[in-house]
Subunit: 187 residues, 4 copies
């Protein structure tokens, strides 16, 4: 999962906004309580709402491995879940992705990332994160930012294939297939 708190601060934002933690503070809190996240599965839909493509972020890890990921990030103090969704989608897909944030707060699932592997399908070595997962149609132009080198649009069938699933870490592959099950497009 991407975590905004770990990216270099932008030059024009010397002061931390309220509710942000320093890296040191965050490291301490992460050993104490579950951290609230949102996961978004960006999709293209046709006029009747049927999912025709899924957007996956392509990243290269420090060790040179190529990985695919969903949009993911922390909910800040005093931030609404829907505003966290908008913020992370804009951060990862750019400012003109035109996401259609679901009107209801009910997520399609809750993904529980444990630091210990095997308790659930999800894993995060850094922390115990609990993520509210949403399928988010995006209607606009997507330009990956930050550390992603590309946003690839795959059909639901392609996204569920073994080779793509193997490139997804921490249980994002399972979460993606849960999203496809939810929208009725599990192969």
């Amino acid at each position: 999962m991407t975590d905004t708190a770990e990216f270099p601060r932008e030059p024009d934002k010397p002061e931390q906004p309220s509710g942000w933690l320093t890296d040191g503070e965050l490291a301490v809190v992460r050993q104490q309580i579950p951290i609230l996240y949102v996961d978004a599965v960006p999709v293209r839909v046709d006029d009747s709402g049927d999912v025709v493509a899924v957007g996956l972020l392509l990243r290269v890890t420090p060790t040179g491995t190529m990985t695919r990921a969903l949009v993911s990030g922390r909910v800040n103090y005093h931030e609404r879940v829907r505003d966290a969704l908008v913020r992370h989608i804009e951060k990862d897909l750019g400012p003109v992705a035109l996401p259609q944030i679901p009107p209801a707060p009910q997520p399609f699932t809750v993904a529980e990332y444990f630091p210990t592997p095997g308790i659930t399908s999800y894993h995060d070595a850094r922390q115990h994160a609990v993520s509210l997962a949403y399928v988010v149609p995006v209607a606009g132009d997507c330009r990956p930012r930050q550390d992603a080198i590309e946003l690839a649009w795959l059909t639901p069938e392609q996204a569920c294939e073994d080779d793509v699933q193997l490139e997804m870490e921490n249980g994002h592959g399972v979460l993606l297939r849960q999203a496809m099950a939810y929208v009725g497009r599990l192969p």
Copy 2:
């Protein structure tokens, strides 16, 4: 609930499309099995998906009473639920309403309209209808068609007020409040 089968056929459609019933056939079937419907709650949302207004159709009954209604109609033979949603929204809100049909088929509730009042919150004297209910953001220009004289946009709070609720028949008032509960906007 509005039922397309009962409206005068358009002049340029002399042949019934496959899966349509004559009024007589429909009357017989309605006494035999539950009829599948869709209900749509049209909403305006802001950039973060929060509902800011609900669209209600204003109609005048044959006896002169003013009523408010949701978008509602039958699912045809060999028609997907999402296509029925598009068709009924277009029928009631016009061709440029630009509805954002939810990507998932999971409805926020299932409304069971019984011919006998009191079994559920919903009632339909003509039939036993079972309706899949969805909240549908509409981004475009809405022009009520058919028998509706106006589409009124109300805030969630206004839509749940007693005087508006009293103008909604057959349990549509309850269904509207269920929709507001689902989107987190129940007053």
Copy 3:
């Protein structure tokens, strides 16, 4: 899908209950409108609600093929969806299965079985059926009745394996995996 209307009538029920169709009437209606169904995925859960096993009905088709199926059946005229769930679970799993019918009518998905294969993941040669699908924990003793020869309890992982999936017809394999995705147990 199993359809009660097609099974031999029990000797002590010479008269059809209200809302039942003769086989001939049903055959006509099936070509005219979508037929409302319920699908139930019977599960065993532990004390924290986690699914530990899925129940699949084992049947032998007239041509001698062994198939596995979910609990499935039609909603009758003037019958609530939750009562149809109870009736079909009792029909297939016996009178002491002690099903825990979900308190909310919201299904985990809506399965649209078309007579034409390929439109959705589900198929029913006889009709256009639209099924509300629920995961139903059963706490009691299950004794398959009617035409099923056995009820087999499989782990979520086993139930999603290829050889089991191949024994499920009409898209029940996909529906089962959607159910496992919904309960967070998709392998």
Copy 4:
């Protein structure tokens, strides 16, 4: 919301279990990130899963006011959401309540309690809490523990009446009505 961390530690548990914070640590964290909670609406259901009663905890505040509340509490570090539900229900309703924890992690809504009133329907002066809300049927004997003086079972209609709603704080009244909307029992 009830928070276990603030109750006197039991004599036989001198050491804090892993993942627990001291009151001082919790007070600091509460000003830094959203705290993950679960809310449970305890219900009695009939054989077909229909809700017949809602359980509300009766408490007297330090200032002598009588309040009604849902079951609510924090999710601990390295604790699954479903285990937190079991723990808080047992804490508030006793060890033989026999709760039927939902098999799916999808909550019926996400309640966002802000320290600033008016941002959402929910409010918590102490913190920014984000709560996953579930309807939980309880089949056993409920004996309120801790600080509650009684568990009162009300019909859905009674629970939504103004006088009961007024006794519920921090938005629990709205959350209760959302739960009733979800189970199809909103008056």
